[in-house]
Symmetry: C2
Subunit: 215 residues, 2 copies
């Protein structure tokens, strides 16, 4: 469980401390959360087809969705970070928080087995699993942004990659989406699609607070 709280920046900066990062646990925990959420949705929506179930799962296990859960349990305050990452605000970054939550799920799974982990993860995500998101809101954030700007007769959103960093198996993308006449927003993720999705989510959130969004 300690290891689940060690962000990769810490052992990178202080290898002499001999601590491993939470990245392997994140790999495991991602699949653990996925199966628990899949089963909960399978049971909760007996008439939903595979496409709807997939969209509902994606909304819950997205970086945005999992980071919200991590914030609810104040997971950020327990993270061990390198100083550089700390200064750049990694402790509040959605991708860092979501990854740590996955790592915690992975650690619980290794200690207690799959059936016990289902109870743990199910309780942790209970508010998300209980939210009956309307089918319309299940569309991808990029699609919803597209529709929202279309409805307002605004120009098409344009996506632009600002940076790609890290080795090829651990890329970090930062993408910007711009809507002329409205503004631009950034998103990040470990692939381009996730980064674009996060940028579109940021744009939609801003449009909602401007009273121009899709809800």
């Amino acid at each position: 469980m300690e290891r689940a709280l060690v962000h990769g920046s810490f052992p990178n900066e202080q290898p002499e401390a001999g601590m491993a990062s939470n990245e392997r646990l994140e790999f495991l925990g991602d699949s653990v959360i996925n199966v628990v959420v899949s089963q909960a949705l399978y049971e909760r929506y007996p008439n939903a087809d595979e496409g709807e179930l997939t969209a509902r799962r994606a909304a819950i296990v997205s970086t945005t969705g999992l980071s919200r859960v991590a914030r609810r349990i104040d997971l950020g305050s327990s993270l061990l970070l390198g100083q550089g990452a700390e200064r750049s605000g990694a402790r509040r970054r959605p991708s860092v928080l979501a990854a740590a939550l996955e790592a915690v799920a992975g650690a619980v799974h290794l200690s207690l087995g799959l059936d016990a982990t289902r109870t743990f993860v199910g309780q942790l995500l209970a508010p998300e699993l209980a939210r009956d998101v309307p089918a319309d809101a299940l569309k991808s954030p990029k699609n919803r942004l597209q529709e929202a700007v279309h409805t307002r007769s605004l120009p098409h959103p344009r996506y632009r990659t600002l940076s790609v960093e890290g080795p090829h198996h651990r890329r970090h993308f930062v993408v910007e989406v711009a809507v002329d006449g409205l503004g631009s927003w950034r998103g990040e993720g470990n692939n381009r699609r996730r980064a674009e999705t996060a940028a579109a989510e940021a744009a939609l959130a801003a449009m909602r607070s401007l009273g121009a969004g899709d809800r």
Copy 2:
């Protein structure tokens, strides 16, 4: 378990039979297989980083990988198909076989719980989990094809989408990859990336049997 063997084409053609397809079970079983494979790899490769674990998992749970397992247990002969799908050869199609295997895993999971399912899926995939694929072979099929043609001074592989069918939440892509002077191969999948990956795998398999592949 019966439902896990019902391909979507059967209830589509004979709705009066009142049978549901295996698509919801496939959704669930996909995540079940994923978590079992993730844990097995986590334990088997204690020094592999997240990137290597992800690549190893992708190789096992790919359409190609799972359809191989389905063929080993002759799952195709037990499938219930519509007549049209039967005539078009769906019973031997990798995507159909892989989906049915996922549905079986989902059904076992619903009947027996996660811990018992781990034993079942672990035994089913034991040969795949025991194969120590060299790190080089873990690169994506598209990357390996790129390298293989480069090594032979052949032109770049070109990918072309032949067809996209189905509603937006259940697309079916057929893609062709062509290497001038060598041939062209098809792949299919429920998104473009998977279809391209399958096409690249087909090309690599052909190159291997021509003695021009990457192994």
